[in-house]
Symmetry: C2
């Protein structure tokens, strides 16, 4: 790993930062906005298209419902933003939805939110990368012709970058995000100017196409259902809004207020861009179909399998700027880049949530350590593997993947907002200051409406998308939930088993003497060192033990032992079948049987080498013996290492690994203790 990716990484990302230097970097709002908003803002690259796509099922005439759907999405966006502004004030620790649900609704709700979020991170990667590839493909046809391959290559690239540890700076996020936002706004403004002032007719590449409706003249319940489905798809624009609530500690002071302002700003930008793109799509007659090969007609004939349906944003850009002009390509590139950045945020969020879950013993304890490399790597590999599987199964088709996406988001929205209502209720019970009570009551009202509205959307999403793929996301959540429950149960059982009894008089016999045994195969430096250390420890009985695997070698060992006059008795065990482990285990058991109050200390000389393949050549018998000895009660096993020259290499590698710096630090801010019970600071 180390050597393979070193050079490209140095070129790509420069030297890694030490984590103690990162602690001081706090984000001003102008940098925090792009850092946290790449995920929600980038979703305007695919959400408008999804709305049109669903409406097209009822034919092109249904497109006139799209402004109403946009309005619904805007109202929802304002609701969610308003709700999360309450969250960042109430929970400035950055625990996010998991913490809110866990604290206020209990561990089961918390675990549900955690499962939903884990699934969402996977889908963020899959959807953003797929959509990014589609956007890039509108400028570079090669990319869209090898969609799955390109998507997987980009996931692999992100994975390698994140595994290596990335030096992050706000600017890295700021430039593409601001270019993207500026590009979209220029497009909207220029389009409006051309359309309204110049009265120019702009035509999207698909303006002259016709759509063959799957269901002609839909009405009544069926039409409502279709509109609800289109609305659910539009809700994809809301994914990632909650990110800021996890990142409050990364803001400059006053943290909560700055975070809330950034949240509002982000919401404003997102809805403007969303509505602007929908509006331009209407004005330029963009045609999107769910199954373009069959339902999209050019001169009355289906376009066929070879046709590539470009994203709405790129069709609109083609209409406004002209296809393959400089602005068109710039916007496509910026869109793709912002989408890849959005995917990258999941690489940070997944292990961070993992570490919080590990703290609560839902995941292996070692994941707890913040920015621990090994834990981090496992999380990254799991995330990337799952995302690649989805991309591959769904052919990197963002439309299909979005069907899975929105369930998880709204599960956590709803539970988080419900939790907030409980939070205010609890605080209102004790709060007496009338001004504060007023603020709390207002916050509670906002969160209540948020919980109600997002819950309603969740029901709509489930109803309209379940068979279209949402069941896959639910299945993923159930798997995460089940695994984490099982891990927590295991830890609880073990904790009970090992909890120390209050009375020091234990039920088991306490050892009173130590019988030390040094394992010897040959008389070389490692053995001599082990013997010297064993003698230092002054046990009650000390002997050396050798297994007679080869008669000649054993004889040579005994001769050498006497010649050197080593004052430790050497005991030789017979081994008719040339085994090593069994005779030693039997011997140790025998000591314990004969004097049960003796603890046995087995001392093993061990070579320390520098490379894994060298490791295969040494210590294997010792390792296996150690493994078996651990199962024998009343035994302790001591390794006396002897560092071979080649171990220097490994030492250097380990040092380098220690200086590694986990990505995502910019979003997390400096390390703070997570309070057990949050304080109310609003």
């Amino acid at each position: 790993m180390s050597k393979l990716t070193d050079v490209p990484k140095r070129i790509l990302i420069g030297r890694a930062l030490r984590s103690d230097r990162l602690g001081e970097t706090l984000l001003p709002k102008r940098i925090a906005l792009p850092v946290f908003a790449s995920d929600p803002l980038s979703s305007v690259a695919y959400a408008p298209g999804e709305v049109l796509l669903v409406l097209s099922i009822a034919g092109v005439s249904a497109y006139h419902f799209s402004p109403w759907i946009a309005v619904a999405v805007v109202v929802l966006m304002f609701t969610v933003v308003a709700s999360y502004r309450q969250n960042v004030h109430a929970y400035p620790s950055g625990g996010g939805d998991y913490e809110v649900a866990n604290t206020n609704l209990g561990p089961k709700a918390g675990l549900t939110v955690a499962s939903a979020l884990l699934v969402d991170y996977v889908l963020t990667v899959a959807v953003s990368i797929s959509s990014g590839v589609e956007n890039l493909g509108s400028a570079i046809p090669f990319v869209v012709e090898h969609k799955v391959l390109c998507a997987i290559a980009i996931i692999l690239l992100l994975t390698v970058m994140n595994l290596r540890g990335v030096k992050e700076s706000g600017k890295l996020f700021a430039i593409p995000t601001y270019v993207f936002v500026a590009g979209v706004f220029i497009m909207i403004a220029w389009g409006a100017y051309k359309g309204i002032v110049l009265d120019d007719t702009m035509k999207a590449p698909t303006a002259d196409f016709e759509i063959r409706p799957e269901h002609e003249g839909l009405a009544g319940f069926a039409l409502v259902f279709l509109l609800l489905r289109a609305f659910s798809s539009g809700c994809a624009a809301l994914t990632g809004v909650e990110a800021i609530s996890n990142g409050v500690p990364a803001f400059r002071k006053p943290k909560s207020r700055n975070a809330a302002t950034t949240l509002a700003l982000m919401g404003g930008l997102a809805v403007t861009m969303f509505c602007g793109i929908i509006g331009l799509a209407m004005a330029t007659d963009v045609k999107m179909a769910e199954q373009p090969a069959h339902d999209l007609l050019r001169d009355g004939v289906p376009v066929g399998d070879g046709y590539v349906q470009n994203p709405v944003i790129s069709q609109v850009a083609a209409a406004v700027f002209g296809e393959h002009t400089f602005f068109f390509v710039l916007l496509a590139a910026a869109t793709a880049l912002v989408l890849f950045l959005a995917a990258n945020t999941a690489y940070n969020g997944f292990p961070l949530l993992g570490s919080i879950l590990a703290q609560d013993r839902y995941l292996p304890r070692q994941l707890h350590t913040r920015g621990d490399r090994l834990a981090f790597s496992n999380g990254i590999v799991l995330l990337a593997g799952a995302a690649m599987l989805l991309v591959w199964l769904y052919g990197a088709d963002s439309t299909k993947l979005i069907q899975l996406y929105i369930v998880g988001v709204f599960v956590s929205f709803t539970l988080s907002q419900t939790g907030m209502v409980r939070h205010w209720n609890r605080h209102l019970r004790t709060e007496r200051d009338p001004a504060r009570r007023r603020r709390m009551i207002r916050s509670r009202a906002i969160n209540t409406f948020g919980a109600f509205f997002t819950g309603l959307v969740l029901v709509v999403v489930l109803a309209t998308k379940f068979t279209h793929g949402a069941w896959v996301a639910l299945l993923g959540m159930v798997i995460f939930y089940g695994t984490m429950t099982a891990i927590r149960k295991h830890y609880d059982r073990v904790a009970e088993e090992i909890s120390a009894p209050d009375e020091p008089s234990d039920d088991t016999v306490r050892p009173s003497r130590v019988h030390s045994v040094v394992l010897v195969s040959k008389l070389h430096r490692p053995t001599l060192r082990a013997l010297a250390y064993a003698q230092l420890m002054r046990s009650d009985k000390l002997e050396a033990l050798s297994v007679n695997v080869d008669a000649d070698e054993t004889k040579a060992l005994q001769t050498e032992w006497e010649r050197r006059g080593i004052n430790v008795p050497l005991k030789v065990l017979a081994s008719p079948y040339r085994e090593v482990t069994r005779p030693v285990i039997e011997y140790v058991k025998n000591i314990r049987r004969e004097s049960p109050r003796d603890a046995v200390s087995v001392i093993i000389p061990e070579y320390v080498v520098g490379h894994w393949y060298e490791h295969l050549l040494h210590n294997q018998s010792a390792l296996r013996l150690k493994g078996r000895l651990l199962f024998t009660p009343g035994v302790m096993v001591t390794s006396v290492p002897y560092q071979l020259q080649s171990s220097e290499a490994a030492k250097k590698r380990a040092k380098k690994r220690q200086d590694w710096n986990a990505p995502g630090s910019v979003r997390r801010g400096p390390a703070v203790e997570r309070p057990k019970e949050p304080t109310n600071k609003s």
Copy 2:
């Protein structure tokens, strides 16, 4: 592993034998013959066909050379058998060709033979399985239609059986081998009776086919070259002859004489069967072509890709017994079974040779232990993997695989016989008894002729087959040779580095005191046990060490420590970034810096659990810390295990694993010490 294959194994092979019970089983000749001869006898299933196949290049008229080639193979077989009869007398220890070459020609020759044999084992599996599938396919068309799949399935089956450990009995080998030998002899006798006495015309299924010669009217050098190539292919009949020389210890006394007799018997059977099949093939007009699809004509038209060219033995059986009669199917089944048994012998030979090579430090030392399960498994997996790769690459085509096969065999024949010549020369220098000298001179003459003849064949094989695939086998040998040389070099370098100095006054500072440190995270039973053990050891300084990852938990630990009145001082290390490893390492290094004559003993409480997945949930920080500590000089690391209830399961599994019995014991005989220098017993 354990559960997966348990039921089919119990059904297939019954309960595994304990190795100490197997030791007593020695083989009488009537059982030894099938045990060792399945490999060489089974090769008559493919060798005759290979001869015809090569001759067909010059057209069907070249078939009349086949008796001459048979004669040459017979002469070669007698030479090799006579030579190896000398080997088994001179080296009754069962070291085989590797030992002979190593002792007499030096380590490089020994290693060359070892590399050749390792490659041969792989090819024995690939060729025997492929040929077995082809033979089975003549009775069951499905098998030959899914040749690669079936071949790989059978390799996997053998692998699983061998990994699990097989209770072997001579009868397992005896029945199919004797059925096969009897079947072939009945076929030859019945064919001769029908042909000569009844004057019946027997016609093979391909009797009416024509062959389009690739090179019409070959003459001169080209013809000689073709005949030599046909002869090389016929030499495939000799593979496996050396097996008996590895298995002398498994024979009843007088071991060497019994082995020599068995060898002669085997040679006699093999040549009779080989010649009989060639004769019958001539009499029944069998037609074989190297590329049947193009060169085999039915009514003047090529038979095309759909045609399956059945092995000679099955075509002859069809002519003699009639196609799909009982005898035909029986013979096909017995042939396939014997070929699979032949492949199985490689599964025994490969790890055995590995253990001998490990003893000489050419392979990782832990492979040394005879019948060690782990070592055995690694060998089996390597062998099976390589064989499957070859089967897959060459489409399970035995004809193509045989091109690779014979090089290795003759490399070891030639070097072994050359070594024997040296052996006799050396003994003749000191031997004075005239009768013995006479015997030795006669033996030397036989081995000299053997060395010369097999060397000649080696040159012929290399010349005629190099471009047809022999280079692959040579490449394999070079890879094995290079790897083993590198391993030996590594061991030699380490041995030099760690060799104990003669003067006890070492250059490094010897520690005079021990500073013990018990790592503590919480106060539970494992910690209490570790503390109790640490106190038993009476080190010069003892303290408990905790890393402050979570302030609340650390405070709780300190309170509990005082409440219990533990008389070991508790030291808490700060860790601003919630790391565990780094602060501990720094602390230990500091102790060493401040008092370099102190050795540091780090005592770690460790959970012992029963399942690998439980292991993922515990000890991970401890394991990583241990790994890092081993690189720190002057430190010893002690694990104090605490057995959780679930560890019982693992204990039982480990016990079961210990009782496992490596396959191949029947062929190896009881364990004997391998003498460093062989004694002459002829």
